[in-house]
Structures are given as C-alpha cells and as structure tokens.
Symmetry: D2
Subunit: 466 residues, 4 copies
C-alpha cells in the first residue's frame, strides 16, 4: 500500500469534546491526504468511529461531530495511489481484542509489510484490508496479550521496518510513537485543557496551541489527563528525516524537526542562485509549490520577483478534461500565463522538483508561446534518481526522468535555456540538519533501511541494534 497520510491525536484534561478539535486539526493537515478522513474518540466507556471517502468537510457534518462524544481521540487523512481506495482501508483502524479496543492512525510505509503479513497468516491470522495498519494492529495485540504497553510497543518497533508515525488509542489512552529513524514527522503541542499530537505543527496552530517539541525518533509518548510521559524505547545512532517533507510535502508554515519549512525553502532558493547564477529580467515561481523558493532566489540574486503564471483555484475532481484538440486548454486549466509579465523577457522559472519532466515541458512551451525570450529553470531539489519506499508517492524508477537522463538531457527535454538543480550539499545545508540525520534515498539511491534490491547506507539502522 503506497499512501500519504496525516495523523492527529487530542487528549483533553476535562470532559471537553475532542472531535471538533480533531476535525480542525485534520483540516489543517488536509494537504497530506484528500481521499478519505476518519475520527475515533473515546469517552472513557465507549469508543466511536466515523470515517468516509472525501475531504474532511465532506465526510463529517455538525451532527456527526456532536455524536462523536469523547475527550480523547485520534484522526487521519489519507491519500492512496495503489488503487486501494476502498472504504476498508480508511483509518483510524478500530480493532477489538481480549482486553478492549485499539484504534490506530498511521502515517508512513512499512517495507517489510508483506513479510510480516505472511508470517501472521502462517499463524492462522486473517486480514480484512490491504493496509499496513492492520499488520501493525496484529503485532501490537499479540504483544499486549502478555506484555505491558511499553514492552509491547518496544517489540512492535523491533519488528517494523520502514517509516511510521503512529497515533493510537488503547481504550482511552492516547499514545504516539515515531519510528527509530524519525522518517515521517510527528510533533506535540499544548492546547487549552490538553495536548495535541500531529504530523505537522500547523495542526497545533489551528487549535491556538503551542508547539512543545517533535516526538523523538524511537520515542513513545502516553498522554493522560493533564500530563504526558515519554518512553524512549529504542535509540538509533542517527535519524533519517525525509527531505521531501521540506522540499514539497509539508506546509511552509510548519516546523518540522526544528526547522521552519518556509525558511528551508527560502534558503534553498538562495543557494540555487549561488550554485546556478543567471542573468534575467524576473524570477517567477511555478505556483504554488515554487513560490517560497522563488522569493529566496529573488532576494539573493536581486532579480525582481514577479508572477508570470497564475494558478486556477477551482479545479476539482469532477472536471471534464479536454480532448486532444484542446491540449493547451488542459494546461491552462491549471495555469495561465500573465503574458505582459513574461513577453520578451528572460525568466528564471523556479519549481520545487522535477519528477517526470512532462509538466515542466508543458509550462515552458506555454511561456514560449506567450513570447518569453529565455526560460532558466531552477529546481529546489536535486535530481530524483530513485523511488521512495517510505511514504512519499513519487513515481517508479522508469518514470523518473533524472534516473535516465543527465542534467543536459533533462534541460533539452523540458526545452529550457538552462537548467540548474540544487546540489545535495546545498540542500542539506539549506535544511540545516546533518546529512547523516536525513533520508536522501530518492536523491542518492541509498536508503536508511534495508530494501530488497536497493542499497542501504552503512550508517543507518540495523535491526540488531536494538
């Protein structure tokens, strides 16, 4: 199951209802998954779940939220790419077992999910969904049969290979766990009468809360009325924070592992100019993802920042796409050129990343048709040469243009006058986290965990370390 997700948990001291706060937090995380949404709450006696396909405001109405009674709860938004958009795969996953109920919300991707599933099936266990989360539920319950919560989660971590930021309810206890490499983000915050744990700090902001800190890789946090306790279950020599959260996935107003995403992108833009200086009339972003990079580039270079492309805000799922004879319309449905801003000019066009190259080509063609003299493409990520197995829906190796072509080759393909990617060094410095604590798998082909057929970095996690 390849999926991108956002998770949240809320624990209130008093009998304040958690569901509405979870709803707003999920809304702040909507960019992490638009396919399904779910909330599970516990009122001390009973657990209640509601989930459905669609955006957060479409899945829940006021009456639903009022019926979801409970002072503690978790929520999930999800996007899936492998056709697994079945309602069965929506989260939180609610399971009942010998001692009660567990509801799990999971962000990440297990690399050994298939093996674990096979192993569990050999024991006679059955699966009702395709999700990694059901695998996690089985493993967790197996341990909880004879172990404490702490020991159970410790054992769970020992078994899981991959990325996982977990938020779960064991009856009415809220628990947060982050994988030993801290691949996907997870942070905790203080809100009125309680605490919140979420994939990104923007979800804390929306509840007018204060970011306390990130969950430490390998840490388990248990929230209870008015306090929380930390359990550092395992400790890895290094972290492997996903660089793509900074490059593309996270909101610019989120602070992840100590770094404001906005600032990282500004610095990348700045570095991009240093590494690939160019003379031009204006710097223009591919909206929205290129905006912050372009502002950084403009500031460093002194070249005026000006929008040359306008994004259409209303595009939705049910749109009737044009046929072959209106191919240009298909591009313009998303982006229109502001012709007078780019006509006859040399433009630095700034994008966050190039995956297949087709979109960049179409945009540059459109700009040239509007009379742009020169297009100098600058890209906020290094060439992506290898797929992601750890939670970003990117592309297959076959589709990744930089896996098959040199920079010059990509430059020709996208029809740019010049093309400059940020270097890996430049990226790492811009993020401000040591290279050894980042996952650069998609940029280097060297992954922080063992993945069949791929190289694993020596410095990274071995199961035997536990």
């Amino acid at each position: 199951m390849h999926e991108e997700c956002g998770v949240v948990g809320v624990s209130f001291k008093k009998e304040s209802p958690a569901a509405l706060s979870i709803y707003y937090a999920l809304y702040a995380l909507q960019h992490r998954g638009q396919e399904s949404a779910g909330i599970t709450v516990h009122d001390g006696v009973q657990v209640r779940t509601l989930k459905g396909m669609g955006l957060v405001p479409d899945v829940f109405n006021r009456g639903d939220i009022q019926k979801l009674k409970g002072h503690v709860g978790i929520g999930h938004v999800r996007y899936s790419t492998t056709g697994g958009s079945r309602i069965e795969n929506c989260q939180p996953l609610l399971v009942s077992f010998k001692s009660g109920t567990i509801a799990i919300a999971h962000n990440g991707n297990l690399v050994n999910s298939r093996d674990l599933r096979t192993e569990l099936e050999k024991e006679g266990r059955i699966f009702l969904s395709d999700s990694d989360t059901e695998v996690i539920a089985h493993l967790l319950v197996k341990e909880l049969m004879h172990n404490s919560l702490e020991d159970s989660v410790k054992e769970l971590i020992r078994r899981l290979i991959g990325s996982y930021s977990l938020v779960f309810l064991v009856d009415n206890r809220l628990v947060a766990v982050r994988d030993p490499l801290g691949i996907k983000p997870l942070c905790i915050g203080r809100i009125d009468n309680g605490f919140v744990v979420a994939s990104e700090s923007a979800a804390i902001d929306i509840l007018s809360g204060q970011l306390i800190r990130d969950v430490v890789p390998g840490e388990m946090i248990i929230f209870s009325n008015g306090s929380y306790e930390s359990h550092q279950l395992v400790k890895s020599r290094n972290a492997a924070h996903c660089v793509f959260e900074y490059i593309y996935f996270a909101r610019p107003d989120s602070i992840i592992d100590g770094e404001l995403v906005y600032n990282t992108r500004m610095r990348i833009g700045s570095t991009l100019f240093e590494e690939h200086p160019v003379k031009a009339n204006i710097v223009s972003p591919v909206p929205d993802s290129g905006i912050t990079y372009a502002i950084g580039f403009s500031k460093k270079s002194g070249i005026d920042y000006m929008e040359g492309l306008m994004k259409n805000r209303y595009i939705g799922r049910t749109f009737i796409m044009p046929g072959q004879d209106m191919r240009e319309t298909a591009v313009r449905l998303k982006l229109n050129t502001i012709k007078p801003n780019i006509e006859g000019k040399s433009i630095v066009l700034v994008e966050d990343s190039i995956v297949r190259g087709t979109t960049s080509r179409r945009i540059i063609d459109l700009m040239r048709k509007s009379g742009t003299k020169e297009v100098h493409m600058r890209v906020g990520s290094p060439p992506i040469i290898s797929p992601c197995y750890l939670g970003i829906d990117m592309a297959t190796r076959e589709e990744l243009i930089a896996a098959h072509k040199s920079v010059k080759g990509v430059e020709a393909l996208i029809n740019a006058d010049s093309l400059g990617y940020i270097s890996i060094d430049g990226l790492v410095k811009s993020i401000g986290i040591p290279e050894d604590d980042l996952c650069l798998g998609c940029l280097t082909g060297i992954y922080p965990v063992e993945i069949p057929g791929e190289r694993c970095g020596k410095r990274q996690l071995k199961l035997s370390e536990f």
Copy 2:
C-alpha cells in the same frame, strides 16, 4: 448483532460474468434487507468486492457491475436493528489468509457468537467489526490451516450455535452451507450455464432458472464448473425451519423447504375461519402482508373479499413525519381507508401477526372513524410470546403484547370486536411440515438450540450429537 439478511451465490460454467446475475438475484431478495448490499466476484485470478449502504440499485451502477469481473460470486443484502449500521459490517466479508481469500455472506444469527469471540480473542485474535460473520471467518480459517475444506466446515458447524445459511467463496470455489437445523432457508437452482444458490427461490426465478431443491440441513454444497457436489456434514434428528419465514418474512412466490409460501398463507387464512368463524359483510386485509391470508379466509368462509384499506406506495426514509397534532395523518401516510367499502359494515380484518399491538389499534381506530360497524381481527400467526434469537428482528419480550396479555386483553387493547389468532396446531398443519421440524420458539418459548435463560426443546440439537 441482530440482523435480517438475504444471500445469493452464482457459479457459471463458462466465462460469463456473474455480477449482473447476482445483482438481479439480490434485487429479488431486497425485502430481506434494505440497509446495505454487497457483491464479491472471483475471476479465477483475482477477487473483487463492492458494497455500500442503501438499496441494491443505489449501491451499484452499471459501471460498477462491469468492473466486477468474474464468473463466480456471492451477494448479500442486510438489515440491522442494533445500531450496527456501520459500513464495516456490510457483507460479503472478504478476508485474506495464508492460502488465499475467503468471501462470506451470512444469513442468520449465532447464539454463541459472544462466547466464540471471547475464545478467539483469548488466542490473541482481533476483530474489526461487530458481525457474526467475522467470527465465522476466524473459525473457518483456523481449520483451513490444517484441514480440508470439508473437514474445516464440519468443524465449523460443530462450533456454531444458532441459525446460519452461508454462501462463501474460497478463492474461486462457491460453497453453500446450511445449519444442521435448517433454520433459515437456502435453496439451489439451475440457470443457463451454471447454478445459483439463494435464500429464496424467487431469486432463482428472476434469473429464469429452475429450483432444484433446498439445501439440506447440515449439508455443504460445492459448486464447480458445470456441476456441484453435496457433502452431508452433520445430520440432526430433526429440522427447525423458521415458521416466521412462512408467516411474514419470505416472499409469497417463494418455495421454502418444499412449501409455497403463498399456499401456506392461503391455508392459514382458511384455517383461521374454521377456528374462529364469524359473520361479516366483507373480509379485508391489512395490506400488503395480510392479503393472502384474507383471500384464503374469504374463500373458505364465502364472505366477500374486498379491500378496505389502501396502502401508499411511495413512503420513504426521508419523509417528514407529522407532529402530535396530526397523529391521524401519520397512520394515513401508510394506509388510507376506502370509506364506502367499510362504512356501516362488519369487517373481518386479516393481519399476518400482532407484535406490539399499536399498529393494529391505530388501524382499527381509523376504520371506526370511517364508520365501520364491527372489526373482527383474525391473525395469521399464533400469539407471539417470546423473542427470536435466530434471525428475525421481532421485539423484546417486554414489547411483545401477547407475552403480557391474554387474547381477551389484546382484543380490548386493539379495540377489536373480536380477535382470533390461528392455533399452533392450525399453523403447523397449514405449513404442512411436521411440528418437530419447525422452530416455534417465538410462539412457544421453547427453542431448538440452547439459549441462556430460555428453554430448549428436548428433541432438538445437542452439540454432543455430532
């Protein structure tokens, strides 16, 4: 989980698509469950499922049915009364396990579901739904780990107490199983290029098929390309066919355990006159369920059959119900009196059964307001004195009016001039099946299986019999 359901399975010889036939068969069984519907098909390689809340035509569109590729499949319609109308409880339940997939559709109610669940949870197993079906899935997979299908189902039957007509797919094999007492109906039919198994023969009719026979209590039938094999797994001394299928639940055009429901109801109507003769101007049914009884009563008594009440066909879920000041309108939304037909007349009013008595009271009040001189109520079932634990959603013992009042008491409560229930003997003779092969639990309080706090008939199934 208290639920009423309908199940169907289709196995085609050639590569004919099964989904559309299952769709029509489910449509013919729609009266058995209007809350959710689901279809699972297998094409020899892959299993595909689609299910959702609502009526059959609302859940599936043409595109869905076309995508459900496969020559073998099962379907399910469901109605639940215990608030368990979660999408997770919709069937077929699809599980994957060590050796492949199993999809299960279940009609009936397990009495020992809670015990089995607890036992399975003690082994560390987890549950993702509230349904009996997930319990069945666990037990079946446990056996299939080390046993043949036949032995596994045999062991499954040994463990389950209650009613169950099961239709399931083990990979692409269609299997049908009926509980050793044959409580809920299940029959098989021949159709073009294949076979069908269904809760009622009306589902065979809609596919222009021929009813072959009922599945025998305790029998397992495995369908394969162009044939089927029977395995009589267990044999009980007696059957315990549900009398309420004849009285109310099944379609009149279905043949169940050899008896046409329509004929049974005609004979009940006839017997009702013999047991409770009355002089009157006309015989009138409470539509629709009383119609066939009334025709039988009329024929035997020679009293003219004439409709005195007209049913409104369009009433739906989303209807705005009137407030206290329009109480009479609430009744008339469902039933209107044909005033000239009943004004000044003595009426024999025929109903299939009386549960709480409130509806009967309202109807009789309405008739009296329209000028009816006398209302003689005749009822196609004996007094219902005990709840059903085996698959009919009836009422609690507290709600059952006949559990607390004598016939005279009920007569007074519903404001009838006279009240006559058919006797248990009369009912049994009208059905034409020996009393020892019927479940009369709701009429006698003596059940064919052991139910905590209730009496179990000596003649009936003991687990030790296997």
Copy 3:
C-alpha cells in the same frame, strides 16, 4: 406539453402553517406525478415558493417546510412525457404583475395552447417556459388589468379549450377553477381550521378532512378565512369527465364526481364476466392496476380469486436493465409468476387496459412458461383506439394496438386463449355517470372539444355557448 399532474390548495382560518398540510396532500397525490413537486405559500405579506425535480419527500426537507411560512398555499406534482422535464416547467408557476403576485398550479392539457401562445406573442409577450400554465398566467393577468377576479376568470375560461383544474393564489386568496366540462377531477374538503381543494379526495383523507363535494364544471371557488364562495361562471349542457381517471389514473380510494373509483372498478370486473363469461380455475390480476377488477370478476363469476403474479416493490429509476440475453429477467424484475398457483390451470387474467400490447404479451408468455394451461384476458377498458389530448399520457395513434387490430388480432398478438374487453356501454354503466357526461375520446375518437384533425361530439362544448 403533454403532462399528468396533481394539484392541491389549502386555506387555513388562523395562522396555522399550510406548507406541511400541502406536503402531505401532495404525497397522497404522488401517483399523479413523480417528476417534480412544488409548494407556494402566502402569509398575507409575502409569497414563498419551493419546487424541484423528484418525489415529494426528495424535494422538501423539514427545514424547507418550516421556512415556507404562510396560512394559505398551493402545491403541485407533475409528470411530463414530452422531454420538457426542465426545472422551468415545474409548478406552481409564480408570476408578479401590476397588482401583486399570482401562483398557479394546473392539471390538464390545453388544446389551443399553441394558438393562444402565438396570439400572445403577437402582442409582444414573452415566454420563459413551454408550459400551458404560463399561457394561462398571461391571459389571467391581461384580464386582471381591468376586470374583477370573477370576470377575469370568466374570460379566461372563454379562451381556454381543453382540460384544466386550476388552483391558484391571487396574493393570499386561494382560488379553484374547473373547466366547463369537468374533464379532470377537483374536489373540496373541510379540515381543521380550514379548507382543502385537491385533485382527488384521498388528499383530503390524509389530512383527516371530510369531502364536501366536487368542484362543479365551470365553477370558481374562492376560499377565505373560514368560508368559501362559489361562482358558477359558465355552464355547459353536459360534462365530460375523463373515464381514464376511473379506469387507471386515480387512486381506488378516491371519490371522483360522486363515484368511488374502487366501486367502479369492482362493477367493471363484474360486468366483464357478464359480457365475456369464461370457465377457469382462478381469476388473477395483473398487479397492482388489475386487482380491483379481478376481485369484481371473481365475485360475479364465483371463480376463485388468487394471485398468479407477484409485483416487485423496489424497482426504481436508477435500475440497471438487462441486455437482450436476459429479456425474461427484464419482465421478472417487475412481475414474478407464482408458479404453483398457475401451473396447469386455466386463468382469467385481468388487466385495466391494453395500450401497446407488448406488456400483455410478455406477461402471458411468462405465464405459459410457468405452465399455465389457458390464459383468458379480460380488460377493464374498451379498446383504446384514439390518443388522449386532454391530460392522460397514453400513446400515439400509431402505437395504440387497438387502433390497428381487431379484438381477434390483439388476442393473437398477445397470445391469449381468449380476449374480452368491456363494452363502452358496460363501462359507462359501471361508472354510473350518463354517457353524455363522460369524455370517451380515447375509446370512440369523438372528443368533447374541437381538436384539429379529430371529430368533436355535437353534444359537446362550443365556444359560442358562453
């Protein structure tokens, strides 16, 4: 515009809300039109309208009804056959003019609608819909510019040729008008605190009201707080009540022009036996429309009434229809045979009417396949040989089987062992209204109003009569 409709008006004495009562009355008239529904109310100051496509419960929710404040109002349900299912054609039609507002709900069909429209267009008037109702609105407003309401409606009647039962609001006055021939039904009733006017008395019943009387052909009734005044605007020598309301369209529990529809149909059934006696084992209706006829036939003939066909209740719009290879399934989706009831038997099959003959053929084929020995078709209407121009959606002359074939020819085509239609005389006597006061256009080809290309009965209305 060919359309079938139902209309209702409610006038309350006090400030009771009218919308909910109109909602229920429309619901009781739902059989007269399932395509759109609308309600307009007036609270003395302001007029409010809500209308939409779909069934009554789908168009209005509780909040809508609460917002429709007003103690007087009208409602409309509509079915259209000429592709005119545009929201613009939904009724009530609300127009504002010099002196206020008029809301109109119309049941019927104008024969001279096209001419009137052309005439109005010549005056420079514009039309925003295709409906007859907008024509009526123009004509009425033209008169109201310089005439009293009474004179205006009188003049309106002089101009309209065709059938029309009108219910309208002139500001907050409720007015009902029936065409001078009384072609379509319209009746008035007393309810708590007010009055109701409706297409059928069943709509009065649902409000627990008492039928007062039919609106007289050519009469205008104006309702005001606590009373109503009658104005006999024009008087025709004869009426021309539509026989098809009795045969098919109206509810059996409605009383139309003094005759209970149910009784009429019983008498037709009885007469059918007298006119076309036959020996048979059972009498069976084509449900639902043939039921009352069959009961009447059974009573007169002494042949047992027994259902041989079972109607499926759940069929809806969105149903996936089977392809050519499942043609029989297409029939069985609507009707299933109760095989044991008809196998080896001679059956009198009773239907209300035969239009194209295709449905009858399919049903008889199905019965023969189920083993019926003989099928004797008896039909509650005489042969339909001419189209309806006055408000019943029937078929074109080309499609009407009896317009082209003799009774023997139809008998052969539908594959019946014998076929008997009721005679026109028999029908007229069964209805109990003098032939001169009925519209028999579809049965005789002689219409009560002048229709280009068709014959007009001498006895009928001439415009010069006014």
Copy 4:
C-alpha cells in the same frame, strides 16, 4: 437584485460544438460567481439550455455538455447577495417570443430596474423572476416587434440606467453589448474557427485565443460565421470603468480596458510606498488578494517580500464553523501565521481594501499574538465611503467603516501601528486611465449615473445625450 456575474459567448465558423469551450471559459470566470452556472447553445435549428446551482464543474457533466449541441452559445456564472438564489434567477435567461428565441446573459446592475418593471407591469406584462435580465428581455422583445436588431438594442440602451455587459443569442446570432459608460468589462477574442466574447481576457486565454480588443462602451457587436460587425449605437463623452475590477474583482492575469490588472496592482503597491513610506523588516501580503500589491511595495521600497500569513486552500461551504470558545480557530481556518517569519519584526501588511475592518482587525490580532512587533497596514484602495449600485457586492453604507471613521479612527479600530490608504490620485495614475473615464462612486460618493439619494457627476451620462 444585487449580483456579481461573469458572461461569455462563443461563435464558431463551422459546426464545431460551442458548449465545451463555453464550459472552459466559464471555468476561467468562476471567480466572478460561484452560486450558479448556465449555458445556452443554438445549432441553427434548436436552442438548448442547461443551468443549475453550484460551481461550473458541479453543474455540468460530460454527458450534459455533449447534449448541448450547437456551434454558437453563451454562458453565465452568478453570485447573488439579496437572497435571490432561486433557480429561476439563474442565467442565461431563455425567452421565446413572436419571431423566435432570445437567450440573455447579463453582468451588471440596473439602477432603474424597479421603475422599468413597474412600467412594464402597467402594460399588463408578467414577471417570473426577480432579475434585471427579465426586464431587459421584455424591453428588447418590445422593440424587436417592429424594429431591426440594431434599432432595438439602441432603444434598449436608451432605457437602461446602470451597468450592463450583455451577451445574447437572437436565435443563432451571437450579440454582445456594453453599456455606454463601459462600467463592467467585456472583451472579444479570436479562437480557432471562431470568436469569443467574455467578461475578462483570461477566458480567451484558456481557449488559446488572442485578445482582439475591449468592446467599446455603447457598442454592439454581432458575430456571424467567420466575422463580426460592430455597431457603435451610442457614444458617451466619457467612460466610467469600474475601479474595483482592478482593485479586487478581476483576475490579475486579465487585461481590462487596455490595462493588465497585475501591472495596475504592482503600480498601486509601488505608489503606496511613495505615499506612505515606512521602515520595516518585511513586506507581507494578506493572501491572495494582497500579493501583487505587496510585491510592488517591496520592489519600490527595497524591503524584503516575505510571506507572514499562509492561506488554507481547502475551505468550503459545508464547513463546520467553531463556536465562540474557538474564535481564534475561526480566523486560522483561513489564515495561519508563519510565526518565525513575523516574530519580533516590523511588518508592512498589504491588503487590497478595507470594507468593514473586522477581518483586518482579526488578522492583526493574530499577528500580534505570534509576536509581531509592528504592523503597518497599507491598503490598495482609497477609503471606501459609499456603497456600489453598479455590480459589486460591497456592503451597505452603515457597514463601511471608512464612511464613519477617519483614517486615524480606522487605524485604531484595526489595531495597526500605522495605516496608509492609496490616494484617489495615486490609484487613478496607477490604473493609467483618465479619472474622467473611471467610476469612482464607492470612493467619492459621486456616481456616473443618476441614483436616487446619491450625487451624480456632472461630466457623466445624461439620458438626453442620446
């Protein structure tokens, strides 16, 4: 009727289908109206219309667009503020009259609509909607009864007071008309095989067309196969182009009356700094409307452009708004602060306009809570002191904060450290159109047309001029 709208017309040379092009053009104009959408097309023989409530992609599906056959057509998007969101008011308005059909799409607001309506009602005319468009339809048809199209439209213009950009079909002729003052925008473009006329040039861009020119105030353009003819029906000494199209309403990538909106906003930003210089750490927009202004301000001032507020993209209609206890969340649902970017800093906050002041106050409060040291508000429009009667939904005079408070008063109310509005002179120079050719009604209280109770500029249109 107070409404904002967008209009489009497409005329193809050959038999190319117009509906899909209209659909895309409407999509490009979606920002001008999100409440309803409609398309009318003509195929030379027949006219077809489809309209409905909602966004363009929600109103039309692929099948609808395919059924809308015709090579010429018009479209409309609409937003209404006066509760008139009835389906009857959706456009295009399709009317039939003596000589054929007219379909009208209208952007603007008539000031004398009520008078015209009364006048037409006095003639006995009726109205089925509340819209100005129906008034226009009546007037146009009245003239077309005895005049040529040119003379009719000329007379129509003589009667209408207010703003109107009209696109209409007279049978299959596409006609565009702009009011003599050119208040609302309207431009024409060349596309493959035909022409397009639209409210904004962005709708031409999306069809890969070339902007030809604006429709001249008082001009009528008739499009026919492969060409168009211009008729300058009336000529006013001056134009009165709406300044709010430049300030807020139009897309930045549109060119209106010769000026690119983006450039105008950049120049306003630049002028704002000149008029109200300030020292600060960064310039930050209120997104999205303040972005271009802020870029212009930054460029002129040399102060770094940096985003301090992040807009949430997913907010929709059905959102559950928080209660009083979560007031801050209500603001943050739309805008989150990027705390590290604004903490401890002096910020120039740039907004397009201040209407009520409440939003500005909430944003500044949020920024101060995030630690902003100083907030210097700079506003792209002068103080709005008077309501708009000509097509912009602004506010009543009571609600307009600048109608009641001085700049210092507003500064205090919104809690800014300083507040600077652009001057009217600065605005006019930034737009680049002579002041005499602009409508500044909302800024000066002097309107280009006579509005009861308001002042009318001497230089402006008098009806006697025609």
